[in-house]
Each structure stands twice: as C-alpha cells, then as structure tokens.
Amino acid sequence: MTNPIKMKKIHPFFLCCFLLMNCASNEEEVYTPMPYNLEIPTLFATKLIAPIVPANNPLTEEGVALGKKLFFDRILSGNGSQSCASCHNPKKAFTDQQQFSTGVQGESGERNAMPLFNLAWNFDERFAWDGKEFGLEEQALEPVSNPIEMHANWKKVTERIQQHPTYPNLFLQAFGTSKIDSIMITKAIAQFERTLISGNSKFDQFLRKETILTPEEQNGFDVFMDEAKGDCFHCHGSDNNPLWTDNKFHNNGLDATFTDVGFGNVTGDPNDNGKFKSPSIRNLAFTAPYMHDGRFSTLEEVINHYSEGLKKSATIDPLMKNIAKGGVQLSTQDKADLKAFLLTLSDNDFVENPSFQK
C-alpha cells in the first residue's frame, strides 16, 4: 500500500510547510487580536441558524472596538461634521427618527434611515431598503462617498485616518498592519455592527417565561398570527423566528404607481418594482417614522394602511389580502391590541446598552 519512494519526495515539502507555519505564527503572536465572543440570545441560538460572520473578517475585540470608534467618528465625512451615528443613533435603535436624513451639505435623501440590529442574521446579506448592498462590509462603503450623505472621498478619508495619532496603532492591533485602507475601515465598522444584537424585549421575556402578556397584547399577537386577520407573520416572523422579518422584498401596497421603484432598480426586473425590504418589527417604539420613505408617523397609520389603505399595482404582493376593500379590515379593538403587541417587541436594554453608546 505504501510507496517509500514517494514518501521521500513528500517529506521536504511537509517540512517546508511546517517551517513556514512556525514563522507565521511567530509574527502573528505580536499582533494577534483577541477573538470577540458574540453573545447570542438564547432564543436566537435555539431557533435560528448561526449568524453570518465572513471568514475573512472574524470578530475580534480589537476589530469591534475600532469599528465602534469609527462608527462614532466624524472623520469619515467630507467636512468632518457627521459620523455614521448622526443618522444611526443608538438611543433610537440606530435611526434618527426623521423621515429623511440630512447629509453634510444639508441635502435630504429619499429613504428613511434603517435601524441597525441583528444584522448578522440577514442570511441573504442584502442590505438597505432596496437590497442594493451585498454584505455589511460593502454596505459601509456607500454612505461615506454618497454625495447627499457623508460626501467624502475615500482616498482622503483614508489619508486622514492614516495621519491620525491613534488610528494606525488601532489598525495594527485589529488587523496586523498599520497601513490603512477603505477595506479595513469597513471591515472594522461591519464587525461593530454585527455586535448590535437586540433580543431582550418584553416579548422575548414572555417567550422565555419570565413575564406574561396583558390580554390586549396577547390578542394583538393572535391578530398578528391569524391568517384571517392581520396575517403579518408571513413576512414579519413569529415566535419561532425572533428576527421578526424575512429580510425579503415585497410590495406592500403603498402606491398604485411608483416614484421610487426600490428593489426593481437593483434587479432591473420590472416585476420587482415597488418592492422594499420587510423591516424587522422590533424596536418600533424607537424607530418612527415608518416605511422606506417614512410616510407614516405613527403605528396607527401603519396598521390602518394594512387594514384599509392598500393600493393595487401590478407587483403588489399576493400576501396582501382583500385589496378591493383596501386590506384586512381589522376592528378598532384588534388594531389597538395589535399595536400593544408590536410595542412588546421594543427592547430598552438594547437602546441603553453602554457597549453601543459613544
């Protein structure tokens, strides 16, 4: 079975590999960052598959800390006036509670700033309302250079960070090199963003049998889960999917004609016109106004939309029911109870978490 001649030829190769591995590990000892222990909520660990952490960007203590520093640093904007946190405030579940955010030049965008949490469980890795960004690292590239957002030049941003008194050393500790580029900057920000986990709302506590729901909240949950009433669960998760979103793209009947075609602009398929990502319904208490264009100021308006405000269009999702009558026709009591349930998914621990504050 064995071939001694062959073995003799293989030995020097293995020896070289062994020596090379030894050399590499000696160098890495100086700069090897500490692995970051992502604290995954019990319900997430029980119910969901593992979060997505790219093999080329593992979470480390140093990388997450660097990403956090960058997230709150106005150095990333063209005129030094805004950071990521300007539009993604941790106290507001990483939104700015504005219909449209205002960029460094005072210009408004056309989309509502999305909240940031549980992003590592976006299994399709399509980010933004229209899914135009693939992967968190890539997503972090765009706002920096977007002329109506941070309006910066990545080359200049990189130079500024390279010249900064402390950043080069932090990059050295996080990535083993102090030569900074945009790839490493976005990797660090993405690491921080993956740690933004929201999983301790009242409803989570209810599922963990640590508290009980009021009758109104319980009825609201039943409305949410009842295909003959709210039928919200097909797109927004359930007690078995603690993300409370499918992270897919739907036309939920907001408009009969579209000024913003959303996902259709990304795929180039007219059948995707008017589709936008289902947002998670966690933390709604902190993230008004609602929808991709922030058109609804209150949860009552949102619920009324699904109840009697649907507008028919060619791409409206088949899950939108009873369109001829404008929607699912909820009673006043069911609407109030549905709102009560939705608010049980707001997570005060998340918005107060000191690890996520500046």
Partner: protein, 244 residues
C-alpha cells in the same frame, strides 16, 4: 518529527484507498417543474401565463415546498425546495452501492416530524405555522395571482399545512395531510441523475378541480381546503429521466 510525518502520510494514503468505487455511487435528485408538460423555471414568474383546469389564468410569484423522509437518505431528513429562488431543487445522495432502490419521499412533514420550532433552518426562513393552527411547518407556500371571474387580477395563497378543524377552538382536531410519494424503483449501478417531475397544474386539477374564485386566500385554517390540496398533490410528482 520524521516519524510523525511518515505516519501522517501513510494514514492519509490508506484512508483514501479504503473506499471502493462500488460503495461510493452518487446520485443527484433533480426536481424539475412543468405546467402540464411544458417545462417552467423561475424565469416564468409573475405573468398570467398558465391556465388551470378551471379555466383561470394563473401566475406564480413565490413557490417553495418541503419534502421529507427521502428514501435513499437516512430516515430523518428533509429538503426545502424553493422554485422561485431556484434553490434546493437539486441535491446529491452519496455512498450508495449497486442495487435496486425504491424512490419515495413525503410531501411535507408527517405529524411525527412536524415539531413546532424544531428546525432552525426552516425557522430562519419563516416557514412556520402559527401555534393557533397547531404549529409545526408549512408543507408548501404557493403564492401567485389569477384573473378572477371579473377578469381582474387577484392574489392567491395556496398554502398547504396539516389540516386543522377549528370548529371548537378549545379542541382543535388535526388530520395529517402530508403524503408519501412513491416513484417506483430505480436501478443504481453508476453515478447518475434522477429527475423528479413536478407538474404544478395538478394542484388545481386532479381529482378536484380547484376554483380560485372560491378558494384563494386564508386557506391555512380551512380544514376542507387542506384535504383537497392533499388529494390533488398526490398526482403532482412523477419519475422523470434517469441519466448517467
């Protein structure tokens, strides 16, 4: 060090030489879809281009379904087939030996396997059934549009689950409407591809002509509709080509 390396290399060589070709036959099960014999793919979504047995024009927007207990695999197995995203339609079964096998699977989960919240991958893609309907998982989500009897487009949600009779909400009665699909025997001698044909028109046709004007949405809690789906589903699947 030299001895360790020698041992490693010899071990790897012996290990890789152990399995004979006869014991390592792979087959690929490939689920192809058609509408009454006309092949369709996910490039055929969103258009009212099909006609069902009741004469309604129909489009497909989202279609995914679950099969389990595939006979050539271990007893406990399942596969989510997502036609609209073209995922899960083809999968490999390895380490078979020469012989004749019965090819069968179950559409959906049997009650025994339909355990609420137990499957992380299915929870992660929101394939669950609400607890008020007994929990567990969908067997199928088939969403699309049809031209109604006023010739206006309307949506349908042909969602198949374990049938539940909610006549008495305090005493739900269940009927296992998953079903076994037996495609007969196949002879395995070499690596091969086995096609399973899925005729979507059958969901609306045989033995019950499905009227989308009557049965279109809110079908999950409809006990009788679920039983009709189960009956119609039994003619959906058939054995296609077996190729080397």
């Amino acid at each position: 060090m030299k001895n360790i390396l020698t041992f490693l290399c010899v071990s790897i060589f012996i290990f890789s030489s152990c399995s004979s070709e006869e014991e390592n036959i792979n087959i690929t099960l490939n689920y192809t879809h058609n509408w009454d014999g006309v092949p369709i793919t996910n490039q055929d979504l969103n258009e009212l281009k099909f006609t069902n047995a009741n004469g309604e024009k129909v489009s497909i927007e989202n279609l995914r379904y679950l099969i389990s207990n595939i006979s050539l695999l271990d007893a406990k197995n399942y596969q989510l087939i997502n036609f609209s995203e073209n995922s899960g339609t083809s999968f490999n079964i390895s380490n078979l030996t020469n012989g004749t096998y019965t090819l069968s699977f179950r559409f959906g989960f049997s009650d025994e396997d339909n355990i609420d919240g137990a499957y992380q991958d299915l929870n992660s893609v929101s394939f669950n059934v609400p607890g008020m309907l007994g929990g567990g998982y969908h067997y199928m989500q088939f969403d699309g549009k049809y031209a109604d009897n006023k010739d206006e487009e309307a949506g349908f949600n042909y969602h198949s689950i374990r049938a539940v009779d909610k006549t008495n909400p305090d005493n739900l009665k269940f009927e296992d409407t998953s079903f076994e699909v037996n495609l007969g025997t196949i002879t395995v001698s070499n690596n091969m591809k086995v096609e399973v044909k899925v005729n979507l028109a059958e969901w609306f046709k045989n033995p019950n002509t499905w009227d989308l004007n009557e049965l279109n949405t809110v079908l999950m809690p409809n006990f009788e509709a679920q039983k009709i789906m189960s009956a119609n589903g039994k003619s959906v699947f058939s054995l296609g080509e077996v190729t080397p």
